[in-house]
């Protein structure tokens, strides 16, 4: 049988039960294929230019920006868990920490990769560092995201080095221990950076004076969306981690984290989501009644164009905000695993919906009185190159799960415990 | 010895990199080309008393800069061979007689997106030619033209020193060099002040 021939057991941590290599490869194969298609599509965009996409002069941002914002928000779990564990000393969250780092790493590296295809002149993207426009939210985003990606790499390395084979190189072991000492610092730096770029991503739209649908008044140089984005990101981050872990548990058929961990995550998510929804309501009211009319845009204008009617606003605030907030916070509902996970999914969906509205509705709505309402459907190249990111994520995570002690107690020692 | 092995190997690597980076790389990056004729500014200054650059490199009355003088300018004196140099022979036989323009290689050629007005710098700002072109106008040899394989820019844009450290004002014609001079005379121009 193939498995006897094909084996990688010496790479798998001692005592860890892992499926046979062939089956693992079988699992990877479709994802690898998807990745290949995506890379090809991305290649087309880089070689022939962005005419390969369905974006246009009015829809200058499309699927890519929307999903970048989405996964960066969901990736917020990484820094936030780190923050909770190392700064607020919530040790009980430690079991999820490695997953958080890996997921964060995947989300951010994926987002940056897509951005490099999205810009028309990737070869010149570094100009932002050389001639930065300090007034631009995008500058802030670029700096913070690239720095934070570096931080995530540094956080990922120790996990990587805990691989059974790599651990055998003494110098690596030393290195890992040194790095490990650094992790709390990294967590602190990461938190700072993340707060800023999550915020700036919101600011990205909030500052658009020319797009009253997105334009928000704010506090000092930061429009309200700056803070809303931070809130929504840290609210959804933990939920997303929960979903990931639950999925992995389902696939592997193992319990990987202590039972009550989900509830804790859910609670954090829920409370923050609640705060977010409250803030969002206040912001929406101010925007509709003060900010927007003051620049000559009546609120009704934004909602006369189907499908972007008021229901979408309702969905964003109530269906995917208030409801999951309740479900996650209350002991009764949270105790129910299915409800808990559904709520978590809804929370993540809410964030995605919010990013979608800000990206797509902002561009679709007319500004000039003689503009027409526009729609846009992404081209297969756009969809493919983005699905590549998801494939890449699955592959990286699977490899990490197989060869790294993701759920082992994150102390440097190699323990035999792994869930059950 | 044993315990220094790492250090030595490391330094060997370092040294190799430095050698390649500072000595091999520049020679690979730039292609060397010779002017079609070895034109001598010095001789022209001495023999024919063409001391004022603008006698050949004229600024037209609409302000545009003629750059390299046209063939008839040369033909004015070189309608027939003067002296015995091979360059002289080529000039007359290959360019003047058939009436072809000489394909000069322009050391200080800027890319298409740059708009540099000699009129503004020479006539209004009263800059002398050598502030940017150094003493090439009196040199007694046509220097070798180096072109960057990747960007296609003349070496003079980057300047003779690879590190660009401690270079003289006339060494290098990168945007930063223009900016430096503009800053020195606090002259503020926007992007499109120098770009088109």
């Amino acid at each position: 049988m193939a498995s006897t021939v094909l084996t990688d057991s010496r790479w798998i941590a001692r005592g860890e039960e892992r499926t046979s290599l062939p089956r693992f490869l079988l699992w990877l194969a479709p994802w690898a294929a998807l990745l290949a298609v995506g890379v090809y599509a991305a290649g087309l965009c880089l070689y022939y230019g962005l005419n390969q996409t369905n974006m246009d002069n009015r829809f200058a941002f499309g699927l890519w920006i929307f999903l970048d914002l989405g996964i960066i928000a969901l990736g917020a779990g990484a820094f936030f868990t780190g923050f909770l564990v190392y700064i607020l000393k919530r040790a009980e969250l430690k079991p999820i920490l490695n997953t958080a780092v890996v997921v964060g790493f995947i989300c951010y590296s994926g987002a940056v990769a897509i951005l490099m295809i999205d810009v028309g002149q990737p070869l010149r993207a570094w100009f932002t560092f050389w001639h930065p426009n300090t007034h631009s939210m995008l500058t802030e985003v670029t700096f913070c995201i690239s720095c934070y990606l570096l931080v995530l790499c540094l956080e990922y390395i120790p996990i990587l080095l805990r691989n059974r084979q790599l651990r055998r190189l003494p110098s690596f072991l030393v290195f890992e221990h040194q790095l490990h000492k650094l992790v709390p610092v990294l967590a602190a730096v990461g938190t700072l950076l993340s707060f800023f770029h999550q915020g700036s991503l919101g600011g990205l739209y909030g500052v658009l004076r020319g797009r009253p649908f997105a334009f928000r008044s704010g506090f000092l140089i930061w429009p309200s969306t700056f803070f809303l984005f931070i809130l929504s990101a840290i609210a959804s981050g933990p939920s997303f981690l929960m979903l990931i872990t639950a999925t992995v548990e389902k696939i592997t058929g193992r319990q990987l984290v202590p039972r009550d961990l989900f509830r804790r995550l859910g609670f954090i998510s829920g409370v923050l989501l609640g705060i977010y929804v409250a803030a969002k309501c206040v912001d929406t009211l101010i925007w509709l009644n003060v900010t927007s009319p003051s620049v000559g845009f009546a609120p009704w204008q934004y909602y006369v164009h189907k499908p972007f009617g008021t229901p979408i606003l309702f969905a964003e605030i109530v269906v995917f905000g208030l409801i999951p907030a309740f479900l996650l916070t209350f002991r009764k509902t949270a105790a129910h695993r299915v409800l808990l996970l559904t709520a978590a999914a809804m929370a993540c969906g809410g964030v995605l919906l919010n990013r979608f509205v800000l990206t797509v509705q902002t561009l679709a709505l007319p500004t000039l009185s003689f503009d027409e309402f526009l729609s846009y459907t992404p081209s297969w190249q756009e969809i493919a190159s983005f699905s590549a990111v998801i494939a890449y994520g699955v592959i990286v995570y699977s490899l990490s799960y197989r060869y790294l002690p993701l759920f082992a107690p994150s102390k440097g020692t190699d323990s035999h415990v792994s869930g059950n | 010895m044993k315990q220094h092995r790492n250090a030595i190997v490391f330094i060997l690597g370092l040294a190799a990199a430095l050698f390649v980076g500072w000595f091999v790389f520049p020679r690979v990056l730039y292609v060397q080309k010779h002017q079609p004729l070895d034109f001598l500014h010095k001789t022209h200054a001495e023999k024919s008393g063409l001391t004022d650059c603008s006698e050949c490199h004229t600024i037209r009355e609409d302000g545009t800069f003629a750059g390299m003088p046209a063939m008839e300018k040369c033909a004015g004196c070189h309608s027939d061979k003067i002296g015995e140099s091979t360059a002289e022979a080529t000039l007359v036989s290959d360019y003047i007689k058939p009436g072809h323009e000489t394909p000069w290689l322009v050391y200080s050629r800027q890319p298409a997106n740059v708009w540099f007005s000699h009129a503004i710098h020479v006539k209004r700002a009263q800059l002398s030619c050598d502030e940017c072109h150094a003493t090439y106008g009196t040199s007694d040899a046509a220097k070798i033209y180096q072109v960057n394989r990747i960007s296609g820019y003349s070496r003079d844009v980057w300047g003779p020193s690879m590190s660009r450290l401690g270079r003289a004002p006339h060494e290098g014609m990168k945007m930063s060099d223009c900016e430096a001079c503009h800053a020195k005379h606090n002259i503020e121009v926007g992007c499109l002040g120098c770009h088109e």
Binding site: L50, N57, A60, L138, G210, V295 | G63, L192
Partner: protein
């Protein structure tokens, strides 16, 4: 010199012929894009057809040339560009787009309420030989960057150079006329220096019939429009004074 170049466009004179659009494209070496649509084309000057929304004999139509409005205050595109590829020129008030600096993130395009910025979705290309017909004053932009109206900056260059050669500091206004202004067969586009109160353009800009698109956003555009038709002036407001129900359908 510290000018504030601007325009007053008389809507009542615009017949929508499109001369300005073609002249602009020719002057600025804007390529013809065989695959482009009205949403992916390059039209730094774009004439748009507008109506009073009525039908039958009551219908009225006009044409509004849309170009970069050269916003003076809190210029949306300048503020958002991450690498200073856009700026408001101190000397002229022209909002300058620098394609060689641009990385093509298109953030400025989302920021512009007038949709006056265009992305080079394709490599510029011309049929064999046609590149000989390119205007020597303007460099061709490459694929993947944003471009827009720079108020025919190469013509300003020429004027400056001419002045310098003649030993003058100020340019002769007659030497600097953008291609669209020159091309308009009805003289609907008036160009001048808004900083000079005696310039006919600044006088027109103060006339009661003058208006600016989306002026309430507060970006102080330097392109004014003018019409004696109330319904045309109403177009300046985003919702053109219309009620929700009119918006439907």
């Amino acid at each position: 010199m510290s000018a504030r170049y601007g325009m007053v466009i008389d809507i009542d004179r615009c017949t929508g012929c499109g001369s300005c659009m073609v002249a602009c494209a020719a002057e600025n070496n804007v390529p013809t894009l065989p695959k482009a649509t009205a949403r992916t084309g390059l039209t730094p000057m774009l004439v748009r057809r507008v109506s009073n929304g009525r039908e039958g004999n009551a219908r009225r139509e006009s044409f509004i040339p849309i170009l970069c409005m050269h916003c003076e205050h809190d210029t949306p595109c300048v503020k958002v560009c991450p690498q200073q590829a856009v700026e408001v020129d101190k000397a002229t008030g022209i909002v300058m787009q620098m394609p060689q600096r641009c990385l093509g993130c298109r953030y400025c395009m989302t920021a512009c309420p007038y949709h006056a910025r265009y992305f080079n979705w394709w490599d510029p290309a011309w049929p064999a030989g046609m590149e000989k017909s390119l205007n020597p004053g303007v460099s061709v932009r490459m694929r993947g960057v944003v471009e827009k109206c720079n108020l025919c900056h190469s013509r300003l260059h020429a004027a400056m150079e001419k002045a310098a050669a003649a030993g003058k500091k100020e340019i002769d206004p007659a030497d600097y006329v953008p291609a669209c202004v020159e091309a308009c067969p009805t003289g609907a586009i008036h160009f001048g220096n808004l900083a000079d109160p005696n310039d006919p353009v600044s006088r027109e800009a103060r006339s009661p019939n003058a208006f600016r698109l989306l002026a309430r956003i507060g970006t102080e555009p330097k392109v004014y429009y003018k019409s004696k038709e109330a319904w045309v002036r109403a177009l300046a407001e985003s919702n053109a004074g219309r009620e929700p129900e009119v918006q439907h359908g």
